[in-house]
């Protein structure tokens, strides 16, 4: 049984387990630190940088930083929220995110965070990059326009599905998700039951022909902003 330690987030003392990552400790204590690439159950990755916090005066990502006793953490400061907004806006201008008709709307973590941070439109000019759709598989689709390169599918496929369907190719602004086949997704051993499909925070990796099943008003973030389940896990749906 690992020992308990205490640390402080935005002036509030919380308890954490030795060896925990900061973001998980914050979750347990009901403190929401925005994130996209982090998902419980997966190896910490630290690519989106949304969970950047200030620990003892230094910036670092909460999802890759282990807790330490008496750590002093800044999380919801205006400065950090501004940085997070910029990061989310960068993801919006980098891809082609048309929330208005995306089937993931209302269930999308990127959109959810944008709403939570109060972003209406990005301040950066759109990059208008051309990205493709891989619809070759009979049941599964990758829309690169919406991929935020969080590697959740890469890690889930590898670590939870025991496959290696996805990985990144290229680098820099050309970096993209590729699949384990020279013949697009159809050539891989991906399966409609793979957990990787559910790991995508946005509408990039989808089961085909399932869009819009959930009516507006009943979607994940229609009633409660993203993060509410962390901040008040008991009140599930009645958060006003």
């Amino acid at each position: 049984m690992p020992g308990k330690i205490t640390l402080e987030i935005d002036g509030v003392q919380i308890e954490a387990d030795q060896g925990q990552y900061l973001i998980d400790a914050a979750d347990n204590a009901g403190v929401y630190i925005p994130r996209l690439c982090h998902k419980p159950g997966l190896e910490p990755y630290g690519s989106c940088r949304l969970c950047t916090v200030v620990v003892n005066g230094r910036h670092c990502s909460a999802c890759t930083t282990p807790v330490a006793n008496n750590m002093v953490v800044e999380n919801a400061t205006e400065n950090l929220q501004d940085f997070r907004k910029m990061i989310v806006e960068m993801l919006f201008v980098e891809g082609n995110h048309f929330c208005m008709f995306c089937e993931k709307s209302g269930n999308c973590e990127l959109q959810g965070i944008a709403y939570r941070l109060g972003i209406t439109a990005p301040q950066f000019p759109y990059l208008w990059t051309k990205k493709e759709v891989d619809a070759s598989h009979p049941d599964i689709l990758i829309d690169h326009n919406r991929c935020i390169l969080c590697a959740r599918c890469v890690r889930t496929s590898k670590d939870l599905d025991g496959k290696h369907v996805f990985d990144f190719t290229e680098r820099g602004d050309k970096k993209k998700i590729s699949v384990n086949s020279s013949a697009r997704l159809a050539g891989t051993d991906v399966d409609i039951t793979d957990q990787a499909l559910d790991s995508c925070p946005v509408g990039a990796l989808l089961r085909k022909r399932e869009g819009y099943q959930v009516p507006v008003g009943q979607r994940l973030y229609d009633l409660k902003p993203i993060g509410t389940n962390i901040e008040s896990p008991s009140t599930d749906n009645d958060k006003k």
Binding site: G118, T120, A121, P122, Q123, K240
Partner: protein, 156 residues
């Protein structure tokens, strides 16, 4: 000295694509994020006659808009209902809306206009000028206290 209470509707309007013209919506979305119990927030490009009906269901309506030449950092005034037709169909003024609300929906709603001073309107872009952002914060601070226990004075 007055105090704002009751069921409140906040309408922030303006075009967020025209720099400081987005002050109204920005204001409204900030207030909306506070998730105040008695405040309903509505955001739009402009006031439309439909708002008259909506307004009539509230005790208080606060219009939040940008101003090009009003006093800094913001101005808070009563809205007198009128039905003079000095407007274009494209946009309706708060007093016309209140005129409509009173005339056709018999609204008893108290109405206030919060105009936040902006500076840059003649360009396209979804951002606020630095000074406008400061004014926005002052406005928020003001409204927070006006909705709280502190009373405020109506400037005219």
């Amino acid at each position: 000295m007055k105090r704002i209470n009751g069921k409140i509707l906040l309408i922030g309007y303006g075009n967020p694509g025209r720099l400081d013209d987005g002050l109204g919506p920005a204001f409204a979305s900030k207030i909306s994020m506070m998730r105040l119990n008695n405040v309903t927030v509505e955001i739009g490009y402009q006031l439309a006659v439909e708002h008259a009906e909506m307004i009539s269901n509230y005790d208080v309506v606060i219009f939040a808009d940008a101003s090009v030449s009003g006093s800094e950092p913001y101005q808070f005034t009563d809205v007198e209902p009128t039905l003079d037709a000095s407007f274009s169909t494209h946009s309706v003024s708060p007093s016309s809306i209140m005129g409509l609300a009173q005339n056709i929906f018999h609204a008893k709603t108290e109405a206030y206009l919060l105009t936040i001073r902006g500076y840059e309107f003649d360009d396209f872009g979804e951002r606020l000028s630095p000074q406008a952002t400061e004014n926005l914060h002052s406005g928020i601070h003001f409204l927070k206290s006006a909705l709280g226990t502190t009373s405020y004075e109506v400037k005219s």
